[in-house]
Amino acid sequence: MKILTVSIVLRVVHAALIELRTLDSRVAKEFERFPEGLSYSIRTGFEGPTLHVLWQDGELKRVENLPAPVCSLRIKSMPLSFQLFTGQMGMAQAYARHAFTMAGEVADVMRLARLVNLVEAYLFPKIMTRRIMTDVPETEVCFLRAYARIAWGFLTCKYKLSK
């Protein structure tokens, strides 16, 4: 169940990043600064679900595999991955609790952490986000708009829950 949940949330996070780019100026600004070819590989636990994304031609593309990601994160266990991707632990808390290892530059993790914080501010209720962030970012549009765009993206097969 945890593995399935993490797998779904990883794909929702990717979809949310793309949709929030058009809804939230801070997300858009972060992407404007992404260097061409920046890529993230997120692995969860031992052989758990993965997410590989690549910034190319102004788009954040989900790809099957990344042989040499610019920034590679490995969450140390599946329970930690579950906590991180279900709003029970924020990125800063994950860092503070040594929940992941990272190969690459710390600056790229910081970019990702800011984006994940913004995604969580939209996807999770404040009662949850207040527990996992020292300062919850204000949403620039109603969270329902974000949900609607993400759901529509999955319904129209713009995003896929499967590989």
Binding site: S72, T101, G104, V106, A107, M133
Partner: protein, 393 residues
Amino acid sequence: MVPYFEFQNAVKLLCGELSLERISIELEHLGASCPLVLSDAVLSKIGTLEQVTEAMQSEGITAGATFTDIPVDSSLAVVNRIAAYFREQGCDSIVAVGGGSVIDTAKGVRLVLSQDTDDILAISGVENLTRGKHIPFVVVPTTAGTGSECTGVAVIRNDANGVKMEFLSPFVEPDVAVIDPRMTMGLPPKATASTGMDALVHAIEACTCQQANPLSTAYGTAAIRMIAENVEKATRNGGDKKARFAMALASTMAGIAFSNSMVGAVHAIGHALGGVCHVPHAVAMTILLPHVMRYNLSHCAESYAALLPWLVGMDAALKTPAEQRAEATIAFIETLGKRLNTICGLPLTLSDAGVQKDAFAKVAEFAVNDGALIVNPRAASEDQVVEILNAAY
């Protein structure tokens, strides 16, 4: 209390008089006989380096090679060059004699060698490395501030973009650190004060950041007490052996504290100021500390209040009403800075340090990408970093 924490300090500490003379036997025990000695040109010129190499030689180990061309703000290129030199010279171990730049450079060299690579950039990351080949590694700090002799992090400048990069791994820690008071006796007053304040920042941020834990706080608070009692004494009278030794120990303890709980916004912004404006690290720390504390106050009044007894003593702290203790902690830091400024001219503002306001936007952009910011008790955007910089100007 934090729900989970990790704590490591695997460094053997040789503390006190005649410590230098024990380096050779430690190297021998580590299976080394041909060390590459790393230092900088100033320490070579004033004889500090010679003091160490003579002490080693007197006990049977001679440097296999010596490299002293390490700049104040060392870089990835310097690390790679020294690693190649180590291999050329057939050395088997490293002895680093110097301040933060020399020690962090040496840590980088050791990483390159132990991971069997040619480029440190290829192995950058957080807790991502396996142990690798063991290269015996001894450090002799010559300032009482960085605590780098006991930390699992190396901060090294990337000349390609001016960013100070952090390399975090438990395998960065040296095998042995030598805390010999002779090494800091000749430190000028301004350097004594600024490096002492650097140690204070390490201790305060270690005790108040999101990663603070009971063990790191034990080291951090003990360091705060020793610094509060001794930094002025050591600055006023460089020959005060007791104060010098206390400061050296406090710096080491603060290093152990922050190595196990990270730091915060003072360091994130300070690294950026170093990268963009070349402000010396310890000077940036001194200037930024009270301003960042004011910025953080709304989020960690309780933890700042808890530091007051360590700064002023329990009796004085108890005379301060509980709700005023956090503010009193910051006021003490400000007053300490002013007193040190009077004694030795320690810069207290960014304008004193020669920073131009037009650099603030770039500094803020770098600061929010610094790993130290993620565990700061209060989040900070680029605009908020600029506010802090303006307050410190």
